[in-house]
Every structure is written in C-alpha cells, then in structure tokens.
Symmetry: C2
Subunit: 348 residues, 2 copies
C-alpha cells in the first residue's frame, strides 16, 4: 500500500489515552488548564458561530450534534442521552468530538469526550465561581453525588481554593462512593443526611442530581443571602432542580440565553426573565458579584463553545506525546481527480 | 488497564481497509450491492428524518454535517468542500461517516467516506438510470472526466449493462486518465474532442464537471429526444451545468425538492417548477419513463439518505471480516455514576 500523507492522518485520543493523559498532567492541573481555555473562549464569545445543536429524538433518547467555530477551527461533539441505558448496563451519555481546520476542512483531532466533558463541565463551573462566588469561599454543598460530583469538587479546589465539601444524595451509596473517591485528595469531606445539613455554612451550593423531572432539590427557604448557586443538573426541557422563588431572588448568569431558556432552570420563568450572559462578565462588560448579600446563580446547561475549548486544549496538549494514535481516515490520492487510480493501485 | 466492554468499542474502517474491502468484494459487485441498499431506502423514504444539512461557511470553503435516521439507525456524514485545496496539494472534498444505534445512542460504525461517497454517488446514478433511462441503453456520454467518471461508468455497466462510454473533458489529460483507468474493465471507451462528439449515439448523458460557476456544459440544441440526462455536477448554489431550455423540455426527477431547488440544476428555474421525487418512482407511486421521445433528467445533488444506505451496507458487510479495527471511543465505567472511580483506577 501507498502511505497516506501526514494531513490525511487524524490523531485519535481513546478513552484509555485520555485517562493516561489526565494522570500524566495531573487532574487538578488539567482542570486549571481547561478552565483557562474555556475562559479565553468566553472572552472572545462574539467571534463564535452559535448554531443550535442538531437533535434527533426517539422514544427512548436523543442523539445530538453540537457544532461551533471560531473562524479558524471548527469543532463538534456527538452526544447521546438515553436514561433507560443504565438499567441495561450501558451509559446514559456517551460522547466523542472532532476538531477541524476551517482553512482546509481537514479534521485535526478525533477524541473520546465522555471523560473530557466531565472535566470541561467542572472546569467551567469553577471558572464561573471565580467570578461569581463570594471571595474566599471555602465550603461547597454538593447535592447529587453522581458522576460529576468528584470533578466539581476538585475543580473548585484547583481553581478557587475550596477546602471542604459537604455531600448529600438521596441515594446514600452515591454519597459513600463520592466520599471514598475524594479520600486523600486534599479536601475535607463531610457526608450529610439531609440537603439542609449539606448547605450549612456553605458559600457555594452545587446541584447536580439525576432527577428526570422538574424537582425541587433546593426549596426557597433553604437558600440564604450571600451564596453562589452552581446549578448543573437542570439541563433539558422538563428537568429542573430549583424552586422558582430562588430564581426570583437571584442574579442569574447563563451561557447562551436562547438555549438556557429552553433547557435550564429558567425554563420555569417568563420569557423575559432577566439574565446576564456569563461571557459579558468574563470579558469585563458586565458586573458579576456586586455585594455580600447577593445570591448569584450560574444556570449551566453546557454549551458547544465549552466543548470547543476542550478540543482545542487536547489538540495543543497531545503534540509531541504518545497519548494518541493516527487514523487513516481521509482518502488522499496524489491527483485529486484520480480517486479511482488510487483505488486500483491499492489492489496490488 | 481494564478492558472496555464490547459495546464501548466502535468499528473503524480506514481508507486502506475500505479499498481492500472494495477489491475483496469486487468493484462492480459493491456498486450493485450499494445500489440495492440505496433502492431499499428510497422505497421507505417517508420513514426518514430529513433534517437539513448543517453547514459552517468560511471565505474559503464549507464544512457540513449531514444527519439522518430511519428510527432504528442514525447516521451522519462530515464533509468539507474547499475548491482552493487542490492548488495546495490537498483534497477539495474529504468525508467520514458514523452510524449509531437509535435505541442505545451508541455508535456502531466509524468509516472513511471519501471513497464510499464516490461509490454511493455512482450507485445512486445507475439505480436512477434503471428506472429512467431508455430500456436497453448501451452508450453513455461522460462529460467531465474527473474523480466520479470511472465510478459512474462502472456502475452503469454493473447495474444497467452499459457497453460503451464516450469521454469528453475540456482538460484532455483528465480524459486520458479516465480512459487509462477504464482499460480492460469491459467497457468500450471512446475519447472525444468535443461534447457534441461525446453525445453522438448516447442514450445516457452524464455531466460531472468541476466548473465552479453556472456553466452551460450542455446547450439546448445538443440534447435530442429520447435520452436520459444524469446531472451530477450541478450540486451547490451558483453551480449548474445545463441550459435552462433543457430543463423545460425534460421530466425532472430529484432526491429532495427543498434541497435540490437550492443546490441543483433547477435553481435556474422558478420555485414552482414541476419535479418528481425519485422515491415516488422507485416505490411505484409515480411513473418514471413514459415514452420513447421523453427526456428524463435526474438532477442529483447527493442526499443524506444515500450516505445512510452506504453506512448500513458497510456495517453489515464488515461483520466477520478483518476490514476494520476497533476504537476505544466510549467511556464505559462499571457503575455509570462512577466515572471518577474509573479514571482513578486507570492510574495504576
């Protein structure tokens, strides 16, 4: 066979290589690095092509493509959501992503994104908390102790200096799992029996439960003044975690209003409910936290630009390493008009 | 490392493996097989989700995602179009595709699609000609002798019994390349100096030139009655190959009117210009060729369902072969809530 040219080979990062890369860099360092890439992209938010995600719905789930571009690179994530998968021993969510060069149209990276999405979600939360949480926040209530909980905790430690996390989940096995995983990682872990106990003394309240329907994980009377709420779990139509009263008392920050009004906590509110776009705070155009008694709320649903930042980071970071293999994915005849000749020559 | 489960591994067909597979099956057989899969999907056309393609445009090109689903499988193709690439030694078009299981959301195939698209385009043309060309057609004029020309010729041979092809390209080197590639493959090849010479005695006129702008490859007076025109090259806004007068005298068949009215030959015609959807002919709901003197015209722009058929075929055909490798692309923790534990265990 003829060897394909260098540009016809696409670097691929497998799940195994992604995990090796995380340990090579260190999990707290990769969370800091990712937060930096996300922050940089939020600063140049207006540059990005904000195509709505393309969803294909079925009775049992959804498959989505989330593309975006900054004019130099183009990225998309494939992600599915199938709640019933868990009972069949499969993942609810799997994801992979691709980055391409806008100038040539050639893909430059293919990577697993289940692990990478967990990392970028936590890095984005902590980056937002840096702007929105009370200065010197040291304690977080982590309500919902599923797949995001350890990543959230370590990102808050790495990026804003969190010292203590107070865990609550209605499933005590999830809390035990999270506490065990965080052992020895430099954060004090307190396992709590009620959400009320978890939020005692916490400056940051993170909600990330798996409840499928509109639920009230935090009721209005549970939330006092001067806290930052990091709401991760309300992320699709019909799925919210906060009482509407909390939203009314908070200054709400969102990624992209047209998407968040459909998928986020604010789906409960009127269409003209006032929100601030997080990128406006990060680029210095609007204020984040303005006072000690203010309740700030990051109503996070996850946006394509965060995946784009993560893809950019992985592309940059794997250069010169062996954390990828090269895939012969693009046909590359010597003469572009002679695809058939390339095929015939492969016969011998 | 822990071995990922079987479903977390995605079969990947590289360019090299695709070419090996084509030679293993035989190029005419694979064209027949693909035509069969495309025909089956045209028969159940109404089942399909017909999302418009999602395009990201830049000054120098376009990157598109073309998704579709039949409710059981979901497929998409990534394809770029960068005309300036050729002058930089790169391909104008590269493509890859993915097929997933709608029930689980898990990908089941990743494959190169530059070679596969060339094959499915030719198979679709020949499948359409089976319904639309004069019975017993033996001679085709092939105007434009680029990357599609050999595939078109062999598909017409394999599927409708073509005996002779008459080549014309304004670049005589392209004609020489095509003639050389077709040597010994069982079709009489006649290289012609003018388009007029090429269409002499041909029952099928295939146009597939690389002209970027609205051009008139076939003028009105060149096309007599009783022929089938297979128009491949007019496939994006501002790119057409046929004189409008030919369209007025023809019965025009298209894949999907909303797309073809923007991208196809009929972009020259009024919005209410009458066309027949090819699937209606193939499913027996409408007539194809109705008489000896009729001019039929397949105004083909390429549609996501044809890629879907090709992906289905490759998925089915590689089972039990070694024409693929498996990619560890999907994170698969034993406990879906314990992604972090999976990451930590990978450390050792």
């Amino acid at each position: 066979m003829t060897q394909p040219s260098e540009k016809a080979l696409v670097p691929f990062v497998s799940v195994d290589n992604m995990m090796r890369l995380v340990h090579h860099i260190g999990i707290e360092q990769i969370l800091r690095d990712l937060a930096g890439y996300v922050e940089d992209d939020f600063k140049r938010w207006e540059l990005f092509d904000k195509t709505p995600r393309v969803a294909s719905h079925s009775d049992v789930g959804v498959i989505e493509l989330m593309p975006t571009s900054d004019g130099e690179a183009y990225g998309f994530k494939y992600v599915n959501g199938h709640p019933k998968n868990t009972s069949e021993g499969l993942q609810t969510v799997t994801a992979f992503g691709l980055l391409a060069d806008v100038y040539t149209g050639y893909p430059v990276l293919l990577t697993e994104m289940t692990m990478l999405t967990a990392l970028r979600t936590a890095a984005t939360s902590a980056m937002a908390a840096k702007y929105l949480a009370p200065k010197g926040s040291t304690t977080m209530a982590m309500i919902g102790n599923g797949a995001q909980s350890e990543f959230q905790t370590l990102a808050m430690k790495a990026i804003i200096g969190l010292k203590s996390v107070r865990l609550y989940d209605k499933d005590t096995a999830a809390t035990a799992k999270c506490a065990r995983n965080l052992e020895g990682l430099g954060v004090e872990v307190v396992s709590c029996k009620t959400p009320e106990e978890a939020i005692e003394g916490a400056q940051i309240l993170t909600t990330c439960t798996a409840d499928k329907q509109n639920a009230t994980i935090l009721t209005d009377n549970m939330v006092g003044s001067g806290v930052h709420i990091n709401a991760i779990g309300g992320d699709c139509p019909g799925k919210t975690e906060l009482a509407a009263g909390i939203l009314s008392r908070s200054d709400v920050f969102v990624e992209y209003p047209p998407q968040t009004r459909i998928e986020g906590e604010i789906q409960q509110m009127p269409e003209d409910f006032s929100v601030t776009e997080l990128w406006e705070v990060i680029s210095g155009q609007k204020q984040g936290r303005t006072g000690d008694r203010q309740i700030t709320l990051f109503d996070s649903v996850g946006f394509a630009i965060e995946d784009f930042s993560a893809l950019r980071y992985i592309r940059d970071r794997i250069k010169g390493t062996d954390y990828f293999i090269e895939l012969d994915m693009l046909a590359d005849p010597d003469d572009p008009r002679d695809l058939f000749g390339m095929l015939q020559r492969a016969k011998s």
